[in-house]
Structure formats: structure tokens, C-alpha cells
């Protein structure tokens, strides 16, 4: 009998069709409303930052692959996502060399030295951002960076104002403006509605874990409510904290990085709550105006430990019983 050759491979023979590239592309799609809003507001400089950041991150990834003689992973979309998030967190006036250095640190120090995708213990973008933030403080001082922009709304960076002047400063902003992105901040981190819609999309599609995002927001809200309740004059209301600074982009795009966040239910909740609470602690009594970057980095470290809290496998034999 004429016997054709068949594909022989072990079970299972079906796959649900998901892929790493799809996952990262959808995260990029979900970020686009906020990015496009930022470009629309700040114009060509913001477009330049986004383009430079994305392309540099991809170039660094390519270079890292070549240097380390590993297969090219540029097509999986992760480098582009890292670059895009870096641009979203940066002010529109960020110098080109900061973008180059920041994305280099993100890709090399944040990701590739740990073995690339999946091995990074921290969010790569946050590693890059934290290093340039500490090294060149003035660049990320949004009040100084955006001083030449006037769009007819309150251009003072909300978190700095609240930190310096107490909760009275919060009354200078109205909810409407904060939700619609009429506030100072990073290119893609101010358009609250866009970020929320993107986040809801990602949560529904399962590209991020809703437990982390929601518990992060709950952590921010609860901690801010506690501070506000204790001293309403000094500390701004919890709602103010939810829609200013990096809170929303942190909840939906930064805390939810696959590799550096837990996968079990209780650890995800603890991780989100912890990072949220720490964010408000840094904002309220720490040195920095915004605490999202460092709070998430700290809880990235805690991730392996938190993920030890796990249900026992069915049929697990306990030797100590």
C-alpha cells in the first residue's frame, strides 16, 4: 500500500491558538488609545519619543540576541511593548539620549541578562525607568519638563502639588479633567479613560490577570482612604490617587507583567494590594511624588516568595503527616 508519511508527536493534539506574539500585540493595542491621546496633546515631540523608544527597544533586543547568540526574539512583540511603555511613562520633552539609555537598561539589564523573555524578575521598563529617574532627576520632574506647555488647564503635576500643599491642592483639579487626561504627566499615562478601557479589554480577554489589576487599585484606594481619613487636610482623597500619576498604567500595564508577577489567586491579591499600598505610602510619606515605579519593583522581588502560597496539589503525599 502506498504509505504517506505522517506527523508523529505526543498528545495533546489540540491547542487553543494563543501565542506570545498575540498576547504582546494585544497589550500594545490596548495601550494605543492612551498613546494616541498623548501624541494628540503634545504633538510631534511625543510622537518622536514614542517612535524612538519603540524602535530603540527593538534594536537593543536584536543586538542582545546577536551578542548572546540566541534566536531572534524581536518578533514576539515584547521589546516593542517595553519600548512603548517606556515612552508612555516619559514626559514628551524627554531628551533623546535618555530614551536611548533607558531602553538599553530596560532591555539589557531588565530582561536579557536574566535570559530574556520569561526570565526577568522585574518589569524591564520599570528597571530602565527607575535607573534613569534616579540618575537624572530633573528630567522626570513633570513640572519642570512640561513648563513650556499650556493647554488651558492646570498644568501643575497633581502629585507634586498635593505632596507640597496638602489636599487643598487637589481641589484645583476637577474630576472631569483628570479622567479625560487633562493633567500633566507622562505621554501615555494621563488619559485615565483610555487606560481604563484598555485595561478592561485586557482583563476580559485574559491577556492580563484581573486579580492583580483590581487588587492594585484596591490597595491604592484603601491606603489613600486611610491616610485621607486620618488627616483630610494633609492627604488627598483616594479617588484623586486613583486617577493621577502612574496609578492606572501601573495597575493595567506594569504590575501585570507576566514574568514578574504571581500566578496563584491569593499571591496575586497580596501582590496587588501590597504594591498599591506601598505606592500610597511612598506618595504620602516617602521622598518621591509618585511611588508606582518603586512599589511595583519591590513587589516584583516578593513575587517568588508570594507564589509559594499555593494550594496543595490533588493527591499530594505529605511525608510529615
Amino acid at each position: 500500500m502506498n504509505n504517506p508519511k505522517f506527523v508523529v508527536s505526543p498528545a495533546p493534539f489540540w491547542h487553543d491558538g494563543s501565542s506570545v506574539t498575540e498576547r504582546h500585540l494585544h497589550k500594545i493595542y490596548a495601550a494605543l488609545p492612551a498613546v494616541i491621546f498623548g501624541i494628540g496633546m503634545y504633538g510631534v515631540p511625543a510622537l518622536g519619543v514614542v517612535c524612538l523608544s519603540v524602535s530603540m527597544a527593538m534594536l537593543w533586543e536584536l543586538l542582545a540576541n546577536r551578542l548572546m547568540e540566541r534566536p531572534y526574539s524581536i518578533g514576539d512583540g515584547n521589546a516593542a511593548l517595553i519600548g512603548l511603555l517606556f515612552a508612555m511613562l516619559s514626559p514628551a520633552t524627554v531628551p533623546w539620549w535618555i530614551v536611548v539609555i533607558g531602553t538599553f537598561l530596560a532591555i539589557f539589564v531588565g530582561k536579557q541578562i536574566y535570559g530574556g523573555l520569561g526570565g526577568n524578575p522585574f518589569h524591564p521598563t520599570l528597571i530602565g525607568l527607575a535607573m534613569v529617574m534616579i540618575s537624572w532627576k530633573s528630567v522626570f520632574d513633570f513640572n519642570a519638563a512640561l513648563i513650556h506647555y499650556d493647554f488651558g488647564f492646570n498644568m501643575a503635576y497633581p502629585l507634586s502639588m498635593v505632596k507640597q500643599h496638602g489636599s487643598a491642592a487637589a481641589s484645583a483639579y476637577n474630576w472631569y479633567d483628570l479622567l479625560l487626561g487633562r493633567q500633566a504627566g507622562g505621554i501615555g499615562s494621563t488619559f485615565s479613560i483610555g487606560l481604563i478601557l484598555g485595561g478592561i479589554y485586557l482583563m476580559l480577554r485574559g491577556f492580563i490577570r484581573w486579580e492583580i489589576s483590581l487588587s492594585f487599585l484596591a490597595g491604592v484606594f484603601l491606603a489613600a482612604a486611610a491616610f485621607h481619613g486620618a488627616n483630610p487636610v494633609k492627604y488627598a482623597s483616594p479617588f484623586f490617587h486613583l486617577v493621577t500619576g502612574y496609578t492606572l498604567i501601573g495597575a493595567f500595564f506594569l504590575a501585570t507583567d507576566d514574568s514578574s508577577s504571581p500566578v496563584n489567586f491569593i499571591p496575586m491579591i497580596l501582590y496587588g494590594l501590597g504594591a498599591g499600598i506601598l505606592t500610597v505610602l511612598i506618595r504620602s510619606i516617602g521622598a518621591y511624588a509618585d511611588g508606582v515605579v518603586f512599589a511595583i519593583l519591590v513587589f516584583n522581588i516578593a513575587n517568588p516568595l508570594l507564589d509559594k502560597i499555593r494550594p496543595a496539589a490533588v493527591g499530594k503525599v505529605n511525608d510529615h503527616a
Binding site: N3, V7, P10, A11, W14, H15, V263
Partner: protein
Amino acid sequence: MLKKSFLGFLKPWITYAPPSKKPIVPKELPLPGRLTFIIDTPYTTTTNALLKPSAPVKAFEKMRVYEEDAAYAIASAGGKIVEVKSFLGPFGRKQTLVTISTDPAAALDETFAQAAAESSAAILTDHLELLPGNPRFHRLKNPQKPISTVLISAADGDLMLNTQAQVINNRLDAVQEGIHRLRDLTGIEDIRIAVPKDFIHGYGHIGATMHFVDTVYPAALPNRMVQQVMGITIPAGKTPEDLGILPISVEAVAALADSFSSGCPACKKILTVVAPDGSRHIASVVIGTPIGDVLAAFDIPVSEGDRLISGGPMTGTPLFSLDQPVTPDMDGLLVQAGSEIPSYTDTPCINCGDCVRVCPMRIQVNMLIRFLEARQYQEAADRYDLLSCIDCGLCTFVCVSRIPISQYIALGKHELALAHSAEEVHE
């Protein structure tokens, strides 16, 4: 092939194929010109082999390769031996492949009929070990693991299959008769039958305690079924037999009744044949028939690069040739078009946790895979529950990185078993 739902935060909720509402008459395939049988004995030398080319074979003759080796196959039809050769089974297991050319006029072997008249429990292992449905009755004879409960599975373990459903829905009398036979022969009183929740028959008196199993995959895999029916969790690395439970398919029970009523071992296997377009057919095939004949009977074309699967899409085993025979444990025959075959990649685990959430055994697959990739099998078993795995394949089904997780797990279990048996020999 099933795809991820749009609302990806939901766990995949894969239900078993519901049985057809109308009774289906299985398509009877004619006796082919050649039959092939796999005997679980390594074919090492021809000198004292009992099976020689061109020797005649009686219908229903018990074929063994060597006198001293107990493993056998029952010739589904009489004829002449064409070829005896060695065959590599799963995990490189050395077996013997016997091909016979059939002759409808061949003499009938009477040993089963004589044994049936005596009606002792030995007949189960001596003649009925390889009934359709692969009952493997030798499990009853292990003195270290006495069996106290027989659990008849009337639910198909894998997706797409309707083989057990076909038997329980259409052959209730044979099943009832088989249960009585089984009770008489083994003396085991506690016989239970597990049927799918959507089983629509009147119950009648079937002679066994009726239990219902869930219709969401993998509820009907043996370990999960034992848990639902008996309320017992099988400890990691143990089998139902270790706990005195003998899972057996309902098809084998019906075949047991058929064997006694007809006076010769039943040898017609009910087979769910699934075409690449997903259409399903039920066939009744003589064990040993080449699968090429089965596919030809349903006009299912196959071409280079397709995949042939014995069993279901989640737990089946691949076939590599159209000449491979229908075996007693083959519940399904799936053809997957080459364009439908998902590719695996060497992308590392990105820790998305989908596998952890989908695992019915609550295994930390994301950690387990890291140990398995590093070949630390003992660590994987001790710390991340390698042996709790029931091989349902769901983790691999949902893996975003497309890692062949199930393959790593199978390899890990195999290596671990090898290491342990080597230790025992050493002691």
C-alpha cells in the same frame, strides 16, 4: 479544533461530546484480507518461536511468541501467518508484530469454549485479557494489590469519542449480562458503573451501583472518575489498582457477555472515526484490521503531513502508518489535517499562569516545567507534584508559549520510573 474563547479570563470549559439522540447502528467493516496483531513480547530469536511464517492459524487461536512468555494475542480470524517481526511500541517498548492472511474457511479454535464450560476466574486472564476495550484482567491477579471494587466506565475519557456512549446506550442487556458474569467469575461484590450526567436511558436493574460523572473534561479520566464515584483521592504516583479499584470500560464488559454467549472471544471493536472536518462515524471493526482499511471504508482521504491519532485529541497516541492495526484499546481514530496541526516552539515559559489555573490537579505547572526543562525529575516530583499529573493535556492545550509540557511530563515520569526500578534492582 477548539480555540480560546474571546473572554479569555474564563477557564476553558470543554464538554464531552454528547451522545447522539438517535440510536446509531455502527458500520460493520468486512473482514480484511490481512490482520495484524501486536504481542507484548520482545521478538528476540526465531529458533524457538511458536509463530512461524506460513504456519496455519485457527480462528480465535491464542497466539504466543514463545512458550515461556505469557503475553498473547487472539487471532480475530483464522488463516496463515505471513510475517513475524519485531515492533517498537510506546517509549521504545519491544514488541512483536504478527501479520496473518485471513481465510474464512479456517478451522475454529475450541479452547475458549472448553474453558468457558468450566467457568473459572482463570478464563479472564487466559483468554479475555485483550477483549475490545482492553480490560487487562491480569490486574485482578496481583497478590500485592487485591481488587475489591470494579469501576465500569461508561463515559468516554477523551473528547470527540462516542465509543463507550455507543455501548451503554445501545447494548444495555449485554452490559447487564457482563456485570453478572464478572461478579460470578471474580467474586467481587462491589461493582459500580459510572455514566455521563447526560445519560438518557431508563435505568432498569443493571446489577451495579449507578454513579454519574461530570461532562466537563477531564472528569471521565480514570483518576478523576474514581474521585467522583468513590470519593477517594488517589495519592500522587499511585494508580486506582493500588487502592483496590479496577477501572474497566463498559465495552469490555459487554464484550465479556458476548464472548460467553457466542462461545468465542469477542473481537469486534467499536471505534469512533473522526474525519478532519470533525464529522464522526461509529464503526465496528475486527481487531487487527489495518487502519488504512477503516479510513477507506469511510472515504476519509489522508495525505502526507497529516496526523493520525489513536484515541482522542487530548490523551491519544499518534500512529505512523496506515498498516498499523486496530488494537483492543483504540477507542477512536482521528485524522487531523496537516494544516490544522499546531506547532510547538522553544519559547520559554513567560509565567502567564494559564496552565496553573486550568490544571484539574492544582499542580504549579509553571514551576514544574522549569524543573523538567532542567531535567531535575526527582525535584520536580518532590517539590512540584510531577506524579500528581493525570496527563489530561490541558496545560499544553492552553500554553501561550506553546511548550510541549505534556511531553516533558511524560518524559519526566518515564525517567523517574526507570531510575526507581534501577534502584530496586540495585538493592
